[in-house]
């Protein structure tokens, strides 16, 4: 940092960056934990609780000469303020002097705690926060020890107020710090919480419809300094001191939030280790200390009823029978031997890097290089590898003078934490331009929005050059372009990423931190798929030219793609490695091998910012399921490809030796941590809330070609041919965060918030087709069963376009943009 100022804390001198908050500075530089309740390092100070009182003064200077005035002992003289001051509302300045340990300060702290406790129930023995509660800790450290409160004065208030489906408020426990209110307002931009009444009657309320219902609501329970806010998931679920924290990575989207799985041996899980809750784990470059509610509440799939627990082999009768691993692997090996090299694989983006490498090796041994990535909806990964956001990027640093362009993505639904962080970047002054064919939530935070015709994202991007916005992008200090694939074919998504890359190249926003491309890829490990050689183009090829044997790993073909049954019919044998027994396994697999979810094994993912991140074994095993890498390498052993690997770490060693992108990566390197600012976690819970210290590693970001100083040539960025509609409508699939995917459906507590299957139809189209808002309609596309959904005639969809969110019902919605017919359904 550039400007520093000199301050004195408890008689020690420190040089700290100008403009820093005093609480933060004392903690970071002087290791002095000034107690706080309302202050939070991620939000603006409000000075409401008075816990942070300190003695404060300034070094006296002679007004005439500007010289420091000395006292009789030759020490510089301090002009003390007559009363204690709140440290949290103080910004450091030259000559600032504070004392944090004097009797006066200690008395003040004791008084504030005592004051708070006069209206606090102290029901710690039944409080979820008990054991990791800032109020509890600070009471032990600074409180009076004995209560003077008259029991008859106890406040009796409502202890179970649902603020929404997921968060409950205990009015007695709230200490009115407004952290939750400010989080919703400042960080999220949904001011659905507020104070009501005043003084001792002050309470948190929500009066919004449908209540406290944002995708980020769970974070308030972490930063709440008491047990006033609790989640429906963890309420009365366990005591914090019984829990073991296991570092992990959220498996739901490309952000790759660092999470901590709180586990314990649990009766409800046959005495095995069970995930009791999901908490954020600090990684300032990835998710800071936040996670979205999908990440927090979407862990139940790891032990859903639908989990595949035994290897299955389909017999001549067509029925599946449970077999031993040995028999099932033998059956799979036999099918593979018979097929020779006419083998292909499709891997889902929930597979770890180790799994993918084992799969790739297996196919290489058989002489096939047909490696498909699933779902094949976004081809931007290869462009990201060239000009992705530079190494060391931290979206939290974007601000004034920088620019962000989001195109063809509904970021709130597809990558919530990116949306959260980019909203804050806009608040800090970054120029945010949002482009899409339809309005999205991101529009609310944008400085400018551009709505283009469906499918014309590339044209719109090319046309930017002649617009007013161009200057803002070209001259920005840092420029990040976030490219999705909504409304685009696979080729279209490649062209869009290419066109975005060209802008970055032309304006010299590549190969440096905080500039470059981010692709909103599907799933947690889409970049891993890319680096390990799995491509969506190969998937399309497999769909066109089906192999004799197809290995499908953790890919929900039938539920993702309504035409899957059609093209899979030409495959002779399907070997399925899956978490679930329904879908492909149930209907089509000749051999099905049960594999472990992210919760039961260790491994690594590469997030959308190319950060390789490690997750650890947290939950007890499900049936006989094995990690996919192990199942695959044992299958390889059966086929005479050498002995099976023994650990995920060993597989990573092999990857690092063979795949240049992973050079230098090892489980040990991935586990490295360093002190992060702000320093949350640790013993002073009160500072950041229960956002856990990162003990599992910060990961390693793979450099782009541009980072390595290679010259990157311009990309082909020819605009997509608009689909030939011939009087039909363009069907555009979209993504909803809360849906009925098998990896989310088992989280029953979120069901009420999963929308009923619907399609958005433009009012002009609806009128022509005689469809009214709320009608049930049928959407028919080629080679697929008709999809029945409710029509939303709300103007959200552009004319000629029907927006169909994927995964809202058990019938697959179109996987990629296509044309189709919409008609009112009978009955």
């Amino acid at each position: 940092m550039t400007n520093t100022v000199r301050i004195i804390i408890n008689d020690q001198t420190y040089d700290v960056p100008a403009g820093m908050n005093l609480v933060d500075a004392a903690k970071w530089y002087a290791n002095d934990d000034i107690p706080v309740f309302c202050y939070h390092p991620k939000m603006e100070p409000v000075g409401m609780c008075r816990m942070c009182l300190v003695e404060m003064g300034t070094i006296e200077k002679d007004r005439a000469t500007g010289q420091v005035v000395l006292d009789e002992n030759g020490q510089s003289k301090v002009r003390w303020m007559p009363k204690l001051q709140t440290a949290c509302t103080t910004t450091v300045s030259d000559g600032l002097v504070i004392r944090t340990q004097t009797q006066q300060v200690q008395d003040a702290r004791q008084n504030v705690v005592e004051f708070l406790l006069t209206s606090h129930p102290l029901d710690c023995p039944i409080c979820d926060k008990g054991g990791e509660c800032p109020l509890q800790n600070l009471t032990m450290e600074h409180g009076p020890g004995v209560s003077r409160m008259a029991f008859s004065d106890k406040m009796r208030l409502d202890k179970h107020v649902p603020l929404g489906d997921l968060i409950f408020l205990d009015e007695e426990r709230c200490i009115q710090c407004a952290r939750c209110v400010r989080f919703q307002d400042e960080v999220v931009g949904d001011d659905v919480l507020a104070f009501h009444e005043r003084g001792r009657s002050l309470q948190i309320i929500t009066n919004s419809e449908p209540g406290f219902d944002t995708y980020f609501s769970g974070n308030t329970t972490d930063i709440c300094p008491v047990g006033a806010l609790t989640t429906a998931d963890f309420r009365f679920g366990a005591r914090p001191w019984e829990l073991t924290e296991v570092p992990s990575i959220c498996p739901h989207c490309p952000v790759g939030c660092n999470i901590s799985l709180s586990t314990r041996l649990d009766r409800d899980f046959g005495g095995k280790t069970l995930i009791k809750r999901v908490m954020p784990r600090q990684n300032e470059q990835v998710n800071e200390i936040w996670i979205c509610d999908k990440g927090r509440f979407g862990h139940h799939f790891s032990r859903s009823e639908d989990r595949l627990e035994d290897p299955l082999v389909r017999e001549r009768s067509g029925r599946l029978f449970a077999k031993s691993w040995t028999d099932a692997l033998a059956a799979a090996a036999e099918a593979l031997k018979a097929a020779g090299s006419d083998v292909a694989a499709i891997a889902g983006s929930g597979m770890s890097n180790e799994d993918l490498w084992a799969l790739r090796q297996l196919l290489a041994g058989l002489g096939s290089r047909r490696l498909g990535a699933w779902p094949p909806t976004h081809a931007g990964a290869e462009v990201v590898a060239q000009v992705g956001v530079g190494q060391g990027t931290n979206l939290g640093q974007l601000g004034r003078g920088d620019a962000v362009l989001v195109i063809a993505s509904d970021l709130e639904e597809e990558a919530p934490i990116w949306r959260l962080r980019l909203k804050q970047a806009a608040d800090r002054g970054a120029f945010l331009l949002v482009m899409n064919a339809r309005p999205t939530r991101m529009d609310d935070f944008a400085a400018q929005t551009i709505h283009y015709e469906t499918g014309e994202a590339v044209q719109a991007l090319l046309a930017l050059k002649d617009s007013d916005a161009w200057k803002q992008l070209a001259e920005a200090h840092n420029l990040v372009i976030v490219a999705g694939a909504e409304g685009l074919s696979l080729d279209g998504s490649r062209a869009l990423a290419g066109a975005a890359a060209n802008i970055l190249l032309e304006t010299e926003h590549v190969g440096k931190p905080n500039s470059g491309l981010l692709a909103v890829l599907p799933g947690a490990n889409a970049m891993g798929l890319h680096y390990l050689g799995f491509t969506p183009a190969a998937t399309l090829d497999i769909m066109q030219n089906p192999p004799k044997v197809l290995i499908v790993t953790q890919a929900d073909l039938l539920l993702d793609d309504p035409t899957a049954a059609h093209w899979l019919a030409k495959v002779e044998t399907i070997i399925s490695l899956d978490l679930f027994a329904s879908g492909l396994t149930q209907q089509l697999a000749a051999v099905a091998l049960p594999i472990q979810s992210f919760a039961e094994r260790d491994g690594s993912y590469v997030n959308g910012e190319r950060r390789v991140q490690r997750f650890y074994t947290a939950q007890g095993p499900m049936g006989q399921a094995l990690p996919a890498w192990q199942a695959l390498s044992r299958l390889g052993e059966q086929l005479g490809q050498g002995t099976a690997k023994l650990s995920a770490a060993a597989v990573m060693v092999e990857i690092a030796q063979n795949v240049p992108a992973f050079a230098g990566v090892s489980f040990k390197e991935l586990a490295k941590v360093e002190r992060q600012y702000p320093d949350v976690g640790g013993k002073d819970l009160y500072y950041g809330g229960t956002a856990y210290r990162n003990r599992g590693g910060l990961g390693i970001q793979i450099p782009t070609a541009a980072d390595q100083g290679q010259t990157v040539a311009r990309f082909e960025a020819a605009a997509d041919e608009p689909p030939k509609t011939r009087g039909k409508l363009v069907i555009v699939p979209s993504v909803r965060l809360y849906n009925r995917e098998r990896t989310f459906r088992p989280s029953a507590l979120v069901h009420a918030r999963v929308p009923e299957a619907y399609a958005e139809i433009n009012s002009a189209d609806a009128k022509k087709l005689g469809i009214q808002d709320g009608d049930t309609v049928e959407i028919a596309i080629q080679n697929a069963p008709a999809l029945r959904v409710r029509a939303h005639v709300n103007g959200g969809a552009p004319k000629g376009t029907v927006i169909v969110p994927r995964h809202l019902s058990d019938t697959a919605a179109p996987l990629a943009v296509t044309v189709g017919e919409v008609s009112k359904a009978e009955g």
Partner: protein, 164 residues
């Protein structure tokens, strides 16, 4: 019944005209809502939120903070009796007790006929004319129970007449 009624349009416009952004007009509009519904009702909150482009939670929060907004239904006449020090010295407490007894209600209560709501408040800055009260934001000063009884009877008669 709603703020969309024509009779309010001018006053709503005037409120907006006073401030650089819509949000700032929330307090005058809440008064209108209170006038319309007799209290700051949920419909009123929603209407004000829509008018000011705010989340209804924030509007409710403002209504809750200021005591001049009532979040409970009130009688037609909202009697706020000052019982603060200066008034107390001139018998406001006794006056308040008698008034409650006369109407047969507790502090903050509303008479069965829905006409009168009584509550006590802090200094209204008319200490020299105690006992005093504020009825629907208009002062009634130098009171005694005889005057009050006559006034109550008058209002009851008016209401009975209006009913017919």
């Amino acid at each position: 019944m709603a703020l969309s009624d024509k009779k309010y349009s001018q006053r709503i416009e005037a409120a907006f005209a006073k401030y650089p952004d819509k949000r700032s007009a929330v307090m005058p509009l809440l008064y209108l809502a209170q006038e319309e519904y007799g209290w700051v009702s949920p419909e009123g909150i929603q209407e004000v939120a829509d008018l000011c482009d705010m989340d209804p939670t924030q509007v409710q929060s403002i209504a809750g903070f200021y005591t001049m907004y009532s979040e409970k239904p009130k009688g037609k006449y909202w009697l706020q009796v000052c019982t603060d020090l200066a008034c107390a010295l001139r018998g406001a407490d006794e006056f308040y007790e008698e008034l409650k007894a006369e109407l047969g209600v507790e502090d903050g209560g509303t008479t069965e006929d829905g006409l009168f709501t009584v509550e006590h408040v802090m200094c209204l800055a008319a200490c020299d004319k105690a006992p005093m009260l504020q009825c629907n934001f208009h002062f009634m000063e130098n009171l005694d129970m005889d005057k009050m009884r006559a006034w109550i009877a008058e209002k009851r008669a008016e209401a009975a007449k209006a009913k017919k």
